[in-house]
C-alpha cells in the first residue's frame, strides 16, 4: 500500500520536499511512517491523517491515506 506524506514549514525545509509517497504494510502506525522518514516523534510535531489532527502516533494508516507532518501552527 502507499501513503502520501506532506511536510509543512520548517519540516518541509528540513526534508527538502513538500510531499512524498512511501510504501509499507496496511495498518502501519504513524510512528512507523515517521521512523521510515527518519523523523523522531516529538511533542513539537503535529500530525494529521486525512486532514484530521491525530495526537496518538500509534494511529494506523491505510492505503491511500494522506499523512501530514507539521510544525506548531503559527497563523493569526
Amino acid at each position: 500500500m502507499s501513503i502520501q506524506v506532506l511536510f509543512f514549514g520548517v519540516i518541509a525545509e528540513q526534508q527538502k520536499t513538500k510531499a512524498l509517497t512511501i510504501h509499507g504494510e496496511d495498518g502501519m502506525t504513524v510512528a512507523k511512517v515517521m521512523a521510515k522518514l527518519g523523523i523522531s516523534p516529538s511533542k513539537a510535531l503535529l500530525i494529521a491523517v486525512n486532514e484530521q489532527q491525530q495526537h496518538d502516533i500509534e494511529f494506523p494508516v491505510h492505503d491511500g491515506d494522506e499523512v501530514a507532518i507539521m510544525p506548531p501552527f503559527s497563523g493569526g
Binding site: 509543512f8 494529521a48 486532514e51 507539521m70 506548531p72 497563523g75
Partner: protein, 149 residues
C-alpha cells in the same frame, strides 16, 4: 471558490475591514455590538527586525478547520454571526493578515467570542508564518526550530 459573501475565507488578496463588517451588519438589526480583531504585520519580533512575513497553509485542512472554528464559536457564545478571514501570501510590515468579526446583541459576548476565535485559530488552523528578517542574512522562523532525529 471563495466569495466575499463567505464568512470564512483564506485568500491571498487584501481585504476591506469596512466591507467585511458591513456584510455582517446589514444581516440583522438585532446586532447591538460588533467586536473585531485585525492582525497586522509588525516590523519586529523576537528574531529582530522583520521586513516581511510569508504565510503558508495546509489548504484543505485549514479551510475545514476555519469553518469548524466558526461553527464552534456560534455554538459556544451568544452571538449572531462570525466572519474569519486570513491571508496566505507574503505581507510586509504594516499590512493586514487576519480579521475576525463577531456580531452580537450584547458587547460582552461579542468580545468573548472574538478573543476566543483568534486565540483558538492560532492553535487550531494549519497556517504557518515565516519571518523574513532584514538584519539577518538568512530566513528565520517564528516558531522554535522543531527537533528532528
Amino acid at each position: 471558490m471563495q466569495r466575499s459573501t463567505d464568512h470564512v475565507r483564506i485568500q491571498e488578496e487584501d481585504f476591506s475591514m469596512e466591507a467585511e463588517v458591513n456584510a455582517i451588519r446589514v444581516t440583522s438589526q438585532r446586532i447591538g455590538g460588533i467586536a473585531t480583531f485585525l492582525g497586522c504585520a509588525r516590523d519586529f519580533s523576537d528574531n529582530g527586525v522583520v521586513s516581511a512575513i510569508h504565510f503558508e497553509q495546509y489548504a484543505s485542512m485549514a479551510e475545514t478547520a476555519m469553518q469548524d472554528l466558526r461553527k464552534q464559536a456560534l455554538q459556544k457564545f451568544d452571538i449572531i454571526e462570525v466572519r474569519i478571514i486570513h491571508r496566505v501570501t507574503t505581507v510586509v510590515a504594516g499590512e493586514q493578515i487576519v480579521l475576525i468579526v463577531v456580531a452580537a446583541e450584547h458587547r460582552a459576548s461579542a468580545f468573548d467570542a472574538c478573543r476566543w476565535v483568534i486565540d483558538t485559530l492560532k492553535q487550531y488552523v494549519p497556517i504557518w508564518k515565516k519571518e523574513v528578517c532584514s538584519d539577518i542574512p538568512k530566513l528565520c522562523f517564528d516558531a522554535t526550530p522543531t527537533p528532528l532525529h
